[in-house]
Point group: C2
Chain length 305, copies 2
């Protein structure tokens, strides 16, 4: 499948009708995953706050995990060593374990499993890994799915602004800096990851209001500011919008504001994700880089074995 | 007080003998704080895993907060609007609330309060905000305090390597990139914040093994790599050490390895923090920047009122 087709499959992915049953009977929740799989847990953690949710991107499971814990291990390949290690530890602590993967070792472990379609790059399969979580906790409905589909389809047909950003980034060999705001802080992180993996460009993410306590001081006086390209996600919160405007003015920084389209949080979430997909995809194209190439990461895995 | 004296007070701060009493009787814990105060909660969260700990760096408190929650609000000034907002929400949900500040509104709110000394920059008072948390959960003892004091004192007397890093960063106008590893991922973030606030330089942090799933791909092919200056914290975990070495080789990246000294996790933690303090301090000096100047952040606060 061409990479552009993978990206465009996102609108079909939001229809993915899988869910975890009986999710109410636990005290806390842990979601383990790395990279393109792990970011789905992190995005969910920001949206769901009825129970404490801890996300893991490492080998080890916290001590508190017990039979009162719902433990979800996500790995697109099903073979991520950190995630497998964390699942094994969670098992020994008696947690209820759910696995989400497209085959691999995770599927064979014998836990309650959500099987997702094969054949994509993990970072293109975010819908398949995120939607079952959103379904399970009542955050999706027919209207949301339809409207999200329409928004993503619109972006698939018309994304010339994404191309314009990519061109300016490429021309100046700029480092993308993405400033998010709740509940889309981890979407800013996903953009950073997409710049890394698709366009093979270093990138950096932080979020309002936290960055007003550190980055802001640097923005006014740092060297290399001309080498950076700043995005800020527009927010529904007036106080955050004020912070963006004031920060822009007093640090004299050109933030490109990306205002999410959509009615619900979920629509805005997927719109923002897809907007970033296109910028990184176009940037790869302009740089003459193959966006599907992850040979270095594969070489690393070989060398570690 | 001169800024260098503030930094050097860290060794005295580790002796700070305050604690929260009766911390066992709760299901979960939330620690709210921004910037130099917030990072203390995040560092603690990585070290303590017997209960779920959620950290907040925003206005709002999660829905799950209840009378089974220990809620700790930290603000050096005591006047941080995000933290005050989060505390007020936690109060309405019935949480047990602890405040930690050097005066300000937090002290006057009337909750159980830990009062810390006035007169420092929040980012220089990390010991005062972190040690009460470590004390409360049994992570400090006389031996640890003594050995930590000795390590920090050693760095106060001899930090020429920190100066050498600062010189190379300044000469090349480089962007510091700090790669941490558990349990010091948030120490990498604290270094980033210190570069921002002390040296007024943009900086970026991520951690092993997560960065092997995204940044690694960029490191091999990104532009501007010569404009970046890479640190990696040495790890006690063999698998992480392997990852650092292999990543260095296959991406041809010059990581400066910072190996923490000390026997216990707490000693290593403070050693790493102080090492970063000195690099950012020296970088400010070389750049002719006043490290205590936070006029832009203060201007922002004025403009928001």
């Amino acid at each position: 499948m061409e990479f552009i087709e993978e990206l465009r499959s996102l609108k079909e992915q939001v229809k993915f009708d899988k869910r975890i049953e009986n999710v109410q009977d636990f005290d806390n929740m842990v979601i383990a995953g790395m990279g393109g799989s792990g970011i789905c847990g992190k995005i969910f953690q920001e949206l769901y706050s009825k129970k404490p949710v801890i996300t893991l991107d490492d080998y080890h499971t916290p001590e508190f995990v017990s039979d009162n814990t719902l433990f979800i291990g996500i790995s697109y390949s099903g073979n991520t060593e950190e995630t497998i290690s964390a699942i094994n530890e969670a098992k020994s602590k008696g947690a209820r374990i759910i696995t989400i993967s497209a085959g691999g070792a995770l599927e064979k472990m014998g836990y309650e499993h959500i099987s997702i379609p094969l054949g994509l790059q993990p970072r293109s399969a975010g819908g398949y890994m995120l939607v079952p979580l959103l379904n399970s906790f009542g955050m999706m409905d027919e209207g949301i799915i339809e409207r999200t589909y329409a928004l993503l389809d619109e972006l698939d047909r018309e994304n010339s602004r994404c191309m314009a950003h990519a061109k300016r980034i490429a021309t100046g060999k700029k480092i993308p800096v993405i400033f998010g705001a709740s509940p889309y802080r981890n979407v800013a992180m996903k953009w950073k990851n997409q710049f890394n993996e698709n366009a093979k460009v270093i990138a950096y993410a932080n979020s309002f209001p936290e960055l007003n306590h550190n980055d802001t001081m640097a923005l006014a006086q740092t060297y290399r500011k001309k080498n950076l390209y700043f995005f800020a996600f527009g927010s529904d919160y007036e106080r955050i919008e004020q912070r963006i405007q004031v920060t822009k003015e007093i640090t004299d920084t050109n933030f490109r504001i990306i205002k999410p389209k959509g009615k619900s949080t979920v629509e805005k979430l997927f719109y923002l994700i897809h907007y970033g997909d296109y910028i990184s995809y176009h940037l790869a194209g302009i740089r003459g880089i193959n966006p599907t190439d992850v040979s270095i990461i594969e070489e690393l895995k070989r060398r570690l074995h």
